[in-house]
Symmetry: C2
């Protein structure tokens, strides 16, 4: 905070930008995020960390603009950061960013009290994250195709309709309807159900394949085959990983242009796209994708923050925050980080067989 003079060595790490320019860029970003107004040289000169006069700031700003970090809406206006400017800002954050005390206790309270099925936890977590950051939040749960089946059965719903139900060891239940023969006896169905259980249990969902059923009553075999087909097609369908989007109404407050709001919301409605987006960003090794970086046109004025949920190194989902490029990056990144690690820990605990109630021993 208190730096003595200006002619001394650059106080923060930098590759492309010397310390003073970085400080100026930081000041512009910080101010613009706060006010949404183009930032002038006087304001920057006044801000902590920049110990030079407006005139000097102006000279540096010209350079920063030439290098693509800043842009001017028009001559004789202040500067606003470009996507590249935000990128430099997040890449050179001095401190990692922390949540305020209120938010921290909000998170703690949430994870101490939340209970119920995983889906419900994830759903409510997305609302929490949205609340914490005032942006839209996405939580994607673990995909099921590596989960093992712990129970399988086929039951009758109506005379010609059956339901295959497979319980996975991550607590999810997959189901699929199958057509039953007209006059199928209950006993045959039981036989089929037992055969199904025998073939399914212990396997991973994605291993399930339709295959010829030997040594079975042909009618039961037919049911089993059909059930295998049905479940295999469920597993093959890429879509319904658990995707929960919270706080999408906040998009409306984030952008001036109605058309932007509409197109961002429309994109959020396509869960498949959202899943791809987050995974793409994650795969690219980033935790933040700013503006055009993620390559999704309709979200060009958005920034996406992601944080993986992982148990023992294996990815088990992802949390994301979607807001305008003009956002409070450190806080948002901290929020994503905290929430994803809390979720990771909870998943790990469940996996190790602890009851959910005792996952988070109450503590400060």
């Amino acid at each position: 905070m208190s730096r003595a003079h200006n002619s001394s060595g650059p106080p923060r790490p930098s590759e492309e930008l010397d310390g003073r320019r970085a400080a100026i860029l930081d000041a512009v970003v910080a101010e613009y995020v706060e006010t949404a107004q183009p930032v002038g040289s006087a304001t920057v000169a006044r801000s902590a960390g920049v110990g030079v006069s407006p005139a000097t700031v102006r000279a540096e700003m010209v350079a920063l603009e030439r290098e693509g970090y800043l842009t001017q809406p028009h001559t004789s206006a202040g500067r606003i950061p470009t996507d590249l400017g935000y990128r430099f800002f997040v890449d050179h954050l001095a401190e990692p960013g922390v949540l305020g005390p209120t938010q921290r206790s909000q998170v703690a309270r949430f994870f101490n009290h939340v209970q119920g099925e995983m889906e419900e936890v994830l759903e409510r977590t997305s609302a929490l994250l949205a609340e914490l950051t005032s942006h839209a939040a996405v939580v994607i749960g673990p995909s099921h195709d590596a989960a093992r089946i712990v129970s399988a059965q086929v039951v009758r719903l109506a005379s010609k309709v059956g339901l295959v139900v497979a319980v996975l060891d991550d607590g999810a239940v997959e189901k699929a309807t199958v057509e039953l023969d007209d006059d199928l006896a209950d006993e045959t169905l039981s036989v089929a159900s037992a055969a199904l259980a025998e073939r399914f249990v212990g396997r991973e969902l994605r291993e399930v394949r339709a295959e010829e059923q030997l040594g079975l009553d042909p009618r039961a075999a037919s049911i089993v085959t059909r059930s295998l087909e049905a479940v295999a097609s469920i597993a093959a369908r890429r879509e319904p990983e658990h995707v929960f989007i919270g706080g999408s109404s906040r998009i409306a407050s984030s952008f001036d242009a109605v058309e932007t709001v509409r197109s961002v919301l429309a994109t959020l409605e396509q869960q498949l796209v959202v899943v791809h987006l987050l995974n793409d960003v994650l795969d690219s090794g980033l935790s933040v994708a700013i503006g055009g970086e993620h390559g999704y046109e309709p979200l060009a004025s958005c920034a996406v923050i992601v944080a993986p949920i992982a148990v023992e190194g294996a990815p088990r989902g992802v949390v994301g925050i979607l807001g305008p490029t003009r956002m409070h990056y450190p806080e948002a990144m901290a929020a994503a980080e905290v929430v994803s690690s809390k979720l990771s820990r909870r998943f790990a605990a469940v996996r190790h067989g602890e009851s959910e109630d005792q996952v988070e021993p109450r503590r400060g």
Copy 2:
């Protein structure tokens, strides 16, 4: 369309308004819905069904305004309908409103091809309805508490975590985690599972109560009791009926004020509120609630159209459309009607045991 003169008897039914005033009101509504601009007397006079001069129209408009059907944004502007004006309009629709041929074939195609679990069908139906009407659409599936349980079991997910799974005869699966004792034997769990099945199957979900378990290994009994508790609490929780909201991004295009967009979207995020809203409107016996009629403040500038899904007279859910009061009521009502009846028929067919594939025999 072609009505000869004006001095002859009023051509449409009316209680509060004579035929000419009704015609003028209709014209204002129709025009305003189309253009979103205040409608002047000249425009009304030009429109079919109103065979009088602008001056006469003006006189009538003064009356209509005095009676609360129209309002003027300011002197020397045209008129726009009030909520009461829209109300009269929908209450006195000459023809029930029909879908265009494109839309009709879109609906037919959809219901011929859609398949899969009920949840998925409902989800995609909400998208269809949104697409048809260009408004946000809600589809609420049947509540489960009258459904009968066709299968119940408890399985182990991890050493201390179990999962109670109950399959309902409407194809839904309810589940709840239960804590297991540390060193519970697999056989005991099987016993508990069997006991659970014995007590559950054939009952309705809402009948499930925790009760003392007699004649059982006490450890198994404890599991059964806990499972009953868990399921009972699932059943008691009012929330997660299946609520699917499609096309909420269209809200953004429907209103000018960002704040309205935000608050409407925020309301839509609260599924519980949406469920109550639709049910309230349904219970009030209306198919349309306009503006303040439904009493939900944040939706005061919205109109809600509902249509029940019913099988053999019993309510099995509801579809809804939510848009600005300035909407194409006849078309939207027709869309809700068509979709809800298609869903009703599909549910009925499933219930009667037909395979879903043959529910809608292909036809024009």
